[in-house]
């Protein structure tokens, strides 16, 4: 049965009729068309579906849409400013932190939560913050370097 879900997505207030059994990932991808959030394992094991809920990283594939009623959701689409990449997006692009790209939105959202709480993280802090995100391509070294590079930059894109 569909009921009204009120929340904010990437800074915009929304009200949508959403089924009780809808997952946050299905709401984002199918109802809102925000397909940047990826469905990897689709079962809580890979981190590709990571979004921010009130600034905290959460797995959209394990979260019921109605359980985030009233909260503020941020997805990868919300990071760019006026068409410019965010510092993390730019760093992943410039430092080859992304290959096939499938894990990238989840990696960047998890890293975004880290940089907001710890602006200058150590390597160990980066590894710990990304420990729930799997990548099949890069071997992780370039991903960690990308987060380090982003931490050294201003947020306002050049």
């Amino acid at each position: 049965m569909k009921t009204l879900l009120t929340l904010s997505v990437n800074g915009r207030p929304r009200e949508d009729a959403v089924a009780g059994n809808a997952l946050l990932i299905d709401y984002l991808r199918d109802t809102l068309g925000l397909t940047g959030t990826k469905q990897g394992c689709d079962g809580g094991e890979c981190g590709a579906c990571t979004v921010l809920v009130d600034g905290q990283p959460r797995l959209a594939c394990c979260t019921l849409a109605h359980s985030v009623a009233g909260r503020s959701i941020e997805t990868i689409e919300g990071l760019s400013h006026e068409g410019n990449l965010s510092r993390l997006q730019r760093a992943f692009h410039e430092h080859l932190g992304s290959q096939c790209g499938f894990c990238t939105p989840g990696m960047i959202m998890a890293a975004e939560a880290l940089l907001r709480r710890t602006p200058q993280p150590s390597r160990d802090e980066i590894r710990a913050a990304l420990a729930g995100n799997l990548c099949r391509c890069t071997g992780y070294v370039k991903i960690i370097e990308s987060v380090e590079a982003a931490a050294g930059c201003e947020e306002v894109p050049a």
Binding site: M1, T3, A19, G20, N21, L23, C41, D42, G43, G44, E45, G47, T50, V53, Q56, P57, R58, L59, C61, C62, T63, L64, H66, S67, A69, A110, A128, A129, A131, G132, N133, L134
Partner: protein, 328 residues
């Protein structure tokens, strides 16, 4: 993974309302972080028509000092537990166990209560519907045989929560909220040695809070065996609480997880109080752990390995804490 079956979500604002709704809807399920329940529902391992979401129950997210105890609401997230300065300073085994659960993105959602009530796990159960059908199911769901103990009349799925052994070793109590109010019992009594019915929680009861005594002079820790450094459930987990009186053990409490259908407190260690921590003491620790645990083929990692590794984890941790207690 499969789609979720059709259900509706109720969002009570108080624990009392949650319990009342549970009484009105006997087939409902409580949900908190959802990191265990949602994947299990999507694999068809759990089904329900009504989900009672505890996310609005603020009273279950409180963490307070009360006299000589720390009272922790069942809705406190594992991320909060792992980071709380009081927990880290006074109950390090609990902070370390919380930090060992899954990955950081799970821990921001997953709760203390959810980890204590975690569905038992087995490599023959935590599979897709088609896999289980192809293997003719198992006793825990839709079948009649326990695949890891075919002659047995019970299921041997393993309890795999990390936080329970820490709280057992620390001597915690749980508060269960039912229609008649709160019932308190030692955490050990919450569990039953049965992979299908591992919780002694009444049908209309809600795990509401945990109280942990703060005992001066104790050091504690948690060690976990797993294939990867994150995400994985424990192949074995050991919590140790230790107090040192000079060159003798004052107190030693050990509990294990992942190696039985319930978290197990290791008995028979009281006699070590007043003794030095020598080879004889380590032999007692190893013997008592091996007597207590019962690892089965619930994971892809072999039973003999887990049998041998569990006491090794414990002995290493006891040694580390023994040295740490001396430095205090």
């Amino acid at each position: 993974m499969g789609a979720l079956s059709d259900f509706s979500v109720l969002r009570p604002a108080s624990a009392a309302d949650a319990v009342r709704l549970r009484g009105e809807h006997p087939t409902s399920r409580f949900i908190a972080g959802g990191t265990d329940l949602v994947p299990n529902m999507r694999r068809g391992l759990v089904s329900t028509d009504i989900v009672i979401d505890l996310g609005n129950v603020g009273e279950m997210r409180e963490l307070q000092h009360q006299g000589g105890t720390l009272r922790i609401g069942a809705g406190v997230t594992l991320a909060t537990l792992a980071a709380d300065p009081r927990v880290r300073a006074r109950l390090p085994a609990l902070a370390q166990a919380a930090l060992c659960v899954a990955g950081p993105t799970h821990r921001t959602a997953a709760t203390l209560g959810g980890n204590l009530c975690l569905e038992t796990r087995c490599q023959y159960f935590n599979q897709s519907e088609s896999w289980r059908q192809g293997n003719n199911y198992c006793m825990k769901l839709a079948g009649d045989t326990c695949r890891v103990a075919p002659k047995s009349s019970r299921c041997y799925a393993a309890f795999s929560g990390d936080v329970a052994p820490a709280l057992l070793a620390l001597g915690a109590e749980v508060e269960l909220l039912g229609p008649q109010g709160i019932r308190r019992l030692p955490l050990a009594e919450l569990y039953v040695d049965d992979g299908m019915r591992w919780l002694a929680l009444g049908a209309d009861e809600l795990l509401f809070a945990v109280t942990v005594p703060l005992v001066a002079g104790r050091v504690s820790g948690y060690e976990k065996l797993r294939v990867r450094g994150a995400i994985d459930f424990p192949l074995a987990g050991v919590a140790v609480v230790l107090r040192r009186d000079g060159d003798a053990l004052g107190e030693l409490r050990i509990a294990c997880t992942g190696v039985s259908s319930r978290p197990e407190f290791v008995g028979g260690l009281d006699a070590l109080a007043g003794q030095p921590l020598d080879d004889a003491a380590f032999a007692v620790i190893e013997r008592q752990i091996k007597r207590t645990i019962q690892p089965m083929e619930t994971t892809t990692v072999s039973v003999p390995y887990r049998r041998r590794a569990t006491p090794v984890l414990a002995k290493r941790l006891v040694r580390r804490l023994w040295d740490e207690a001396k430095r205090r």
